[in-house]
Amino acid sequence: MSTLSYQERSLYGSLAAELIIYLPYFVLHHGNSVNKVAGMIFSIIVLQILLQSIIAAVTRHRMTDERDKLIQLRGYRAGYLTLASLMVVGLGMLWFHTLAGHNFPIHAGFVGLHFLNVFFGMLVISDIVKTVTQILAYRKAL
């Protein structure tokens, strides 16, 4: 029976931190205030440091080898492709929205925050895709 390596534990820790912070943030629409955006960024940094420190403390063998690097590259490729696809879809939707003659019925400050959240959401989705791809790559044949 194989136990989890340091890299796998670290990935599960990252995924847990991402879901704990990002899910409430996006589901409960906390992105409508600059203070809440800043709070979320601060929270994810603190939680990641805390979880990764605990994982490092309880793991004896903390080495990285060629398989870890290969899996890491696969994860980054999946994350990059997701981000690029979301960007294309986002730009396409914006173009279609403008082409249809729709204007934003809200003030400019909110539009700025809205676009920041959309962009941030794309980064979050691609980061989660990267982490999940890496976790799955450890479970199946390469």
């Binding site: 136990t3 890299q7 080495m63 080898d65 060629e66 398989r67 390469l142």
Partner: protein, 72 residues
């Protein structure tokens, strides 16, 4: 199944060597040794040579290659 297969488990058993001991000897994690033994990961040429050197046998005694059909 065509592809790369190996006899690491048998060679290790003959020498009463644990997966962790082999992993330490070739500079990879125990999980990578497990993945190689189960044919879930094809190691780099350098790691393959390191494994053969640890067991003091030729490379082809550790790894066998069966090409997929149509590529012979």
């Amino acid at each position: 199944m065509p592809g790369l297969s190996n006899t690491i488990r048998e060679l290790r058993a003959k020498r009463s060597m644990t997966q962790q001991e082999l992993a330490d000897a070739i500079g990879v994690t125990r999980q990578t040794v497990i993945a190689i033994e189960l044919d879930k990961y094809s190691p780099s040429l350098e790691t393959a040579f390191r494994i053969a050197r640890v067991f003091d046998v030729p490379l082809e005694q550790v790894f066998q290659y069966e090409p997929p059909r149509g590529r012979r």
